[in-house]
Point group: C2
């Protein structure tokens, strides 16, 4: 499906070749494929790497197990995932010039442990391994009937162990006593759930029009015998044969975390499962991701891969490349690249104010430092009042920080407004990727650096490319300045509920209606040479408040892949925008089933 055409190489100036390679093998520290717990050997290896300034750690090919018992521990704030005191397997804190090569190994994690966290590291290359968890943090059941009073599910207890106690469904890790004998005593853990979603196991994607169904914090259930249970909730519906997924209520163990690090390369890594995002980078400079995959491991008995986004970038800088990746069936978007807004909670004098992180999954992401340039933003229009320089900051706690500027802030700036860091907005290149079957949307493009999205194949249930951002709910900063979307195939997306989007490419920035006519939050978007395959009369492009929008040389083809959803949209629904060029788009005549 993916066109492997040539494309201009994306130059990573910051990524130096790893020189004078001293290589260590995990085998030298006593770990071997199929062995009990790799953590003690890994900790010795990482200590040796620092001591000997080794530049490469290799894993002879095989399956390695990782348990939390002996793992390092650190309190981590991870943007758009859940903070906490984490046990960390690959605890790459303050490392430099290191390549970790798994030689195709499977790294199997057991219980509450974070596979990889980079913190303050530079020039790190991770390659050739797959991450999976013995017991996934989500659970799945096959829908066997949809009675009035709830939903009947067959849950495989060998894959998703569960109990019904006091009438409440609880997912457990089952009895792993045998397996754990080789390590220390572990406590039985449970897997709290929240959002439910129906998936089609044949198509490996959310079921047609399936929307989020809340099943947490506790589903009332009764066993019906023969391995079937009834979830006693009349609002639950589903099609027999489909899979009902109990999403975890937390995002505690994302696969790979890149925090305050620079020059990170991810190559040929597969995330079969993660409790949270497959990969999240925050406050980091230069990230290159090549041939990364998400997808459940064959034979695992699961359909879902990661329980949240495949990749996510929060307040990063430099260059971000995502190329030749294959993101499948994770429970949120393939990527979201954004900055952070913080709300003004109090103004103490004309230079001093208190900022608050509003979204709980942004708590503790301290992105304001002395000498930073900030922009002062009207939270209702996202229009910038002005900019200023930070003199000092005082962290009050994970939510609040007191900021003192060198000069008085603009007069109109007030409590309830927001600030963002004016940074080296990342240059983004996402190319030759396949994004299929995940929940929600495709790419959320919210960075002001040159953004190039080319030669990708999208098949997602919501909007494929979204320009989002707001300073009132998610507090994700965006507003592109130079964005080109070209040569992509958008194949029969928008098969989910309308709330995930009614256009293939949309602006949905959090600008209040009265400010839409005047705001030009997104600028210079070019959409060219793409193929849009539609089964419905939905919009291809729906935007507002854009300055500079060119839509040209695209091909629109109609299919009958899904029943149409009854929309009657214009193909290009553009409002409150300047400098709009729409030209030379080939549109297949509207087929019979979609005409009025």
């Amino acid at each position: 499906m993916i066109k492997k055409t040539t494309f201009a190489a994306f130059c990573f100036a910051g990524l130096l070749p790893i020189a004078s390679a001293k290589t260590l093998s995990i085998a030298d520290f006593g770990a071997k494929p199929g062995g009990p717990d790799t953590i003690p050997a890994l900790k010795q290896a990482l200590a040796a790497i620092k001591k000997e300034q080794a530049t490469k750690l290799i894993f002879p090919s095989g399956t390695y197990h990782f348990f939390p018992d002996y793992a390092d521990e650190r309190y981590c704030f991870i943007s758009n995932n859940d903070e906490g005191l984490k046990r960390i397997a690959f605890n790459l804190k303050d490392f430099e010039n290191l390549e970790i090569d798994g030689n195709g190994s499977l790294f199997m994690f057991h219980g509450k442990i974070n596979p990889v966290i980079l913190e303050g590291s530079s020039n790190i290359r991770l390659k050739n391994f797959a991450i999976d968890f013995k017991r996934s943090f989500h659970s799945e059941g096959v829908i066997v009937a949809d009675p009035e009073e709830g939903l009947d599910l067959r849950i495989d207890p060998t894959v998703f162990p569960y109990e019904i106690a006091g009438g409440i469904l609880t997912f457990t890790d089952g009895d792993q006593t045998e397996e754990r004998k080789t390590t220390t005593k572990s406590k039985k853990i449970t897997f709290p759930y929240g959002g439910g979603l129906e998936f089609d196991p044949e198509k490996k994607e959310p079921a047609y029009l399936a929307r989020d169904l809340w099943v947490g914090p506790a589903a009332i259930a009764k066993p019906l015998g023969d391995g079937v249970i009834r979830i006693m909730d009349p609002k639950l519906t589903g099609t027999p044969g489909n899979i009902f997924i109990f999403g975890p209520s937390h995002r505690e163990h994302p696969g790979i975390v890149i925090s305050r690090s620079q020059d990170t390369v991810i190559e040929d890594i597969t995330i079969h499962h993660a409790a949270g995002m497959a990969l999240i980078a925050q406050l980091s400079h230069n990230v290159q991701i090549l041939r990364m995959k998400t997808g459940a491991r064959e034979g695992s008995g699961r359909l879902l891969s990661a329980t949240a986004d495949a990749t996510h970038f929060s307040n990063c800088t430099g260059k971000i490349e995502i190329g030749y990746c294959n993101f499948q069936v994770q429970k949120d978007d393939p990527s979201n690249l954004h900055g952070l807004y913080a709300r003004i909670s109090a103004q103490e004098d004309d230079k001093t104010f208190v900022i608050e992180m509003i979204h709980p999954q942004q708590y503790g992401i301290d992105f304001v430092d002395p000498n930073d340039e900030l922009e002062f933003v009207n939270s209702r229009s996202l229009v910038t009042y002005g900019t200023g320089k930070v003199a000092s900051v005082e962290r009050i706690n994970k939510q609040l920080t007191r900021v003192v500027m060198t000069e008085a802030v603009p007069k109109d700036f007030k409590v309830g407004d927001a600030i963002a860091e004016i940074r080296d907005y990342p240059e983004i290149h996402i190319h030759n990727c396949r994004m299929h079957g995940n929940r929600a949307r495709g790419l959320l493009l919210n960075c002001r650096g040159k953004t190039l999205i080319e030669d990708n194949h999208f098949h997602v249930p919501g909007t494929a490319i979204l320009f989002e951002s707001d300073a009132s709910f998610w507090y994700e900063q965006g507003g592109v300045r130079d964005c080109t979307i070209r040569g992509n195939v958008f194949e029969n997306g928008n098969f989910g509920p309308l709330e995930w989007g009614t256009g293939v490419i949309e602006v949905r920035a959090g600008i209040e209606d009265e400010f839409k006519p005047s705001s030009r939050y997104n600028q210079n978007i070019t959409i060219e040479d793409n193929t849009f395959i539609l089964f419905d009369r939905n919009a291809v492009v729906r935007t507002f408040s854009v300055d500079g929008l060119t839509i040209r040389n695209n091909t629109i083809i109609y299919s009958e892949a899904y029943p149409n959803r009854g929309l009657k949209d214009e193909l290009f629904d553009i409002s409150y925008s300047d400098n709009v060029v729409i030209e030379n788009n080939k549109v297949q005549e509207l087929p019979e089933n979609l005409t009025e």
Copy 2:
């Protein structure tokens, strides 16, 4: 009820008078009774105290409110309570020579905040204030009927706001928008529940024979109208008119925490409510508690006070005095004074082993340091193999620590056994206290220093004085060496379920049966001049494996306070003990209703 007889003053050598008092008032920092959030003023005041070496902080009498928004934050491990990243109001870290005098003020806490935490402080005196929470972390309902399928409760939504959503009962903090306007945006919080217990609101104590009923993590409920809800759980029973208490599932916000501190004095402090213990001291030296109370605030609409023990001492040293206190209706014991055992998880060589904290509420309580003397203990018999000196320790994480000894450990010492620190076991004096109406037991005496329990009045549903300890479940170290229990009144205790104890004073150490004949874990216990009032034929003293037990000059009186529970115990049930003297105890003739 409390005899205010003279008694020998308990000399606190470590407690120096606070000299050269420089006094600050919270009013100087802008806080006033009834004001919005006292935290900003308190933080300024504490900073000024450090800067100016002030020795006293006073609060003009009144009600002060404390919100988490601007509070300091620190990750805390708190023995027998829940660890976590805490917002802390009185964040007394590294303070010396300070008295905080509330002048009878009420300190009202709002939401997820810890009232007082001492860490690494010395010579601190807290006096004359009361701690309460605007919304308690437990909830209560009046039992209105006890149908087959569950229990019908009337819950006052103004005191214990709740919702029933998806058939599940959730306790909330209601809508406090108005109140919070003066501070920053707060998120609505919920109050997860676990153990339920029925209380008698007239007697202000657990209902006769009421036992713990598990209602967490989610109770299925349906509204019956007229403010009554039915908890759909057939195993729940209760007497109409009694109160059903939903205990919180966590102990996250104990009232006063004293950690790694020395010479702490608590005087005239009332804990109306705490989410966890009212007071917990760990790894601390010299604690004096005078005239402390627990009890719900009049007009609060609540029956329960703290949701766990009134006081608790974990691996403390020096002297501990608890005098003239009044502990009422908290949801666990008035006091438990013990050391810590850690389990041997791995032996790496003859001097090196890994210890594990087993009880999750002991994680992170790092009590082993270089140069400590340790005892090596058989976990099944609690018999000591020998002792040794610590050369070095390496903390692996909150559960595991690697310990290297200076000499080889005893040969028989093995994985599964335990270690404890040989420390300056505290000298304990608990006197003139009233302990009424709490869940479970009275005093758990598990320290090897001179222990004197005199002139107290007990009315608790389980065993009034328990010598517990084990290295297999709670991992609480004990084994008294010199314990005198004299002049106390034990009035009609043991009215709870048999699992809370069938004797007034009991040894229930975790010694396996085969080792009871040989072990002498507790030594030198004298029980004299006490009055025992019994309504049942339960034991007054039930012990095993004691060397040195004197029971003399006690008076046993029978009452009809409760229906008898049908026991036919001997008054003194002593087994596997040496040097036992039982003399001159006056026993009222067994009344008609208790003879066979």
